[in-house]
């Protein structure tokens, strides 16, 4: 008989080890899944995890790594702050869309004027758009006690409809020969978010992601606000006695994660994606939730988790090309990773005792 004994403090050793264990378990379970789909599991795992980094065309894929990891890290860094405080913003996808729309709208309004101020203005607009979309659930929760989980999620669908409307309506390229979608910002020098160092995939969004990682790290481990956020998440009653205002906390966390998600969307639409279409959003807002948990809601962890998750995207694309593995298989793979992670987390919080547990 195995009994569980709660640890007085979460184990530091296991909190570092469980993500690694979860990744290994996912690889095994994923291998089984690939075998069921009739693919060679070892080859599939190699194509997904090894070839993009060290395979024959690795130089190209390594660049893609940062392109995919940038938005994931940027969004997850913001989400993790809220998750730490027990504030669940799961509508990052919507904030990402609105940020992209806001940024692109500024650029398209200014078209074809060239100015050094345009790109900074787009950055501000993107952050502001995401912030506003994040503040809706925050304000509703503060004023009325509405669940931020449900509201932020509902707003994803609202944002998606809004995006479709914009792509077919006001933002549609007037010279697009009737095709849906906006002008391509990659062909508009002032608004373009270019690759900064050729071949690396580094663009301003990736820079912003690194800045966000450092900033949230400092915030959470060196600043009183971060301490308050952690207390509020771990011991809400104690936090209230310590004078933490729940209202301020909700607004801060949802506003911050909204702004960062909005930024991610804006950098994406001005850079790698280039134009607003009704389906330009690739689900980064949802995958970022996995990234945040895989990184143990810790800034440095998120950096690594974002890179790993980006690898599964790129490897998944490669596996689709080379082995005919369906794209959805990668989505299942990412979902499994989160399951294993949450399951193994037991080891961080509890001690396993084999034999008769002392009650």
């Amino acid at each position: 008989m195995i009994t569980l004994v709660k640890r007085p403090m979460p184990s530091r050793f296991w909190s570092f080890t469980t993500p690694v264990l979860a990744v290994i378990a996912t690889m095994i379970a994923g291998g089984v899944l690939f075998a069921i789909l009739g693919k060679d599991p070892v080859a599939a795992i190699k194509v997904i995890f090894y070839d993009p980094l060290f395979g024959p065309n690795a130089a190209y894929f390594r660049g893609q790594l940062l392109v995919k990891a940038g938005p994931l890290i940027l969004i997850a860094a913001g989400l993790a702050v809220g998750f730490r405080a027990g504030i669940w913003n799961i509508g990052a996808e919507g904030q990402y869309i609105i940020g992209a729309l806001a940024g692109a709208s500024v650029a398209l309004a200014a078209f074809p004027a060239e100015s050094h101020w345009l790109f900074p203005a787009m950055v501000v607009a993107g952050a502001l758009g995401g912030w506003i979309w994040g503040m809706i659930p925050a304000v509703l929760r503060v004023l009325f006690g509405t669940s931020e989980i449900l509201v932020s999620l509902m707003l994803v669908y609202v944002a998606q409809s809004f995006l479709a409307w914009a792509a077919f309506g006001p933002l549609k390229n007037p010279e697009g020969y009737g095709f849906p979608g906006s002008r391509n910002l990659q062909q508009y020098p002032s608004a373009h978010n270019p690759e900064l160092i050729a071949g690396t995939g580094m663009h301003w969004g990736v820079v912003a992601a690194f800045v966000a990682v450092i900033a949230t790290y400092v915030l959470m481990s060196r600043h009183i606000a971060g301490f308050r956020i952690r207390v509020a998440g771990e011991a809400p009653r104690a936090a209230r006695f310590a004078g933490v205002l729940p209202a301020k906390l909700v607004m801060f966390c949802l506003g911050l994660s909204g702004a960062l998600a909005g930024l991610a969307g804006m950098f994406e639409v001005a850079g790698p994606s280039g134009q607003i279409t009704d389906s330009f959003n690739a689900g980064y807002g949802f995958t970022a939730i996995i990234v945040a948990f895989l990184g143990r809601l810790n800034a440095i962890g998120i950096l690594l988790a974002g890179l790993l998750m980006a690898l599964t995207y790129i490897g998944g694309d490669m596996a689709q090309l080379m082995l005919g593995l369906p794209t959805a298989a990668i989505q299942v793979f990412q979902g499994m990773l989160l399951f294993f992670l949450l399951g193994f987390d037991l080891l961080t919080q509890y001690r396993l005792r084999v034999g008769k547990g002392s009650k």
Binding site: G145, G335, G343
Partner: protein
């Protein structure tokens, strides 16, 4: 006819439009009454949708299809139960994981079923009753699943209100420590409630793919699972109000579709937005009015139970 909208058709359409969310919300109600918050409704629904569809298409029987959908939803819920009840993981995070996993899994399984038509689900044979004016199409003109869903709501209502097991379930949801001290098996009961909730979510999903749409498309639940969660909140955790909530929501969806068909000069994208915006508004109104009333949520909702703590 009011403004190009046929009221009888609207009410008849409303009942079919509400059935998926009604089923899912009723299932979630039972799980939440037992004190477990399963945010994976969307994932269970979509897996139910694809499993039910695949089952119905391969066997040619919609009945087996619905059974398959319910089973798939229940299996996914068991996974959630294993993680949250045995491995004591965070319920919010695990629910999200279930949704993300379910969306991926359904897309994977559904690849071979795109563009296929499912076998038709039969209408309930009411004979001449269905030909009655007004009442006929509203009350007697539906497929049998609509009546099953109504029976399930009534069953859940009676179970929670009158059955001894229902009382125990509610006790577990209100105070799991006290229930445990009285000798009730908290974990087992919660797992059962979750499985039941998953089965109903799967059934709701299968209704979407087999009757409502009827075909399989990726991501076809489009937030219906989340709306089901919102309806449970709206219903203040009471079965009879779940019915009202789901039918209100279904009414908005049906009205929205009819407005599109009637050719009103409202952009389509704003109409598709409407159900989600209205869900948010209803949540706001409800939270605002309930602020100072008695808290309606089960007291142990979302909290893990560990016997030695």
């Amino acid at each position: 006819m009011i403004g190009g909208i046929d009221i009888v058709t609207l009410i008849a359409a409303l009942m079919a439009a509400s059935t998926p969310v009604l089923l899912a919300a009723t299932g979630e109600l039972v799980a939440e009454k037992a004190g477990v918050l399963n945010l994976g409704v969307e994932g269970m629904m979509i897996v139910g949708a694809v499993a039910g569809f695949a089952m119905a298409v391969t066997t040619g029987s919609p009945v087996l299809g619905f059974a398959g959908g319910a089973l798939a939803g229940a299996l996914l819920a068991c996974l959630f139960a294993l993680l949250t009840q045995v491995f004591l993981s965070n319920q919010t995070a695990t629910g999200l994981a279930l949704t993300l996993f379910g969306l991926g899994l359904s897309a994977l399984v559904g690849k071979g079923f795109e563009g296929v038509r499912p076998p038709p689900t039969g209408k309930m044979p009411f004979g001449p009753l269905a030909d009655l004016p007004v009442i006929g199409p509203i009350l007697f003109g539906h497929d049998w699943m609509v009546y099953v869903s109504l029976a399930l709501v009534a069953g859940v209502w009676a179970f929670l209100k009158y059955a001894r097991l229902g009382l125990i379930l509610r006790a577990v949801g209100e105070n799991h420590d006290a229930a445990h001290a009285l000798g009730y098996r908290v974990i087992a009961l919660r797992c059962a409630a979750l499985a039941f909730g998953g089965a109903l979510a799967g059934l709701g999903g299968a209704y979407l793919s087999l009757v409502r749409v009827p075909q399989w498309t990726e991501g076809m639940t489009a937030g219906a699972g989340w709306i089901a969660l919102a309806i449970v909140v709206f219903a203040s955790w009471r079965a009879e109000r779940v019915l009202i909530g789901a039918y209100m929501f279904g009414g908005i969806t049906a009205l929205q579709l009819q407005l599109q068909a009637a050719g009103y000069a409202i952009p389509v994208h704003f109409l598709t937005m409407a159900p989600y915006v209205i869900t948010v508004l209803v949540l706001v109104i409800l939270s605002a009015t309930h602020r100072h009333g008695a808290p309606a949520a089960p007291a142990a909702l979302g909290r893990s139970f560990h016997a030695s703590s």
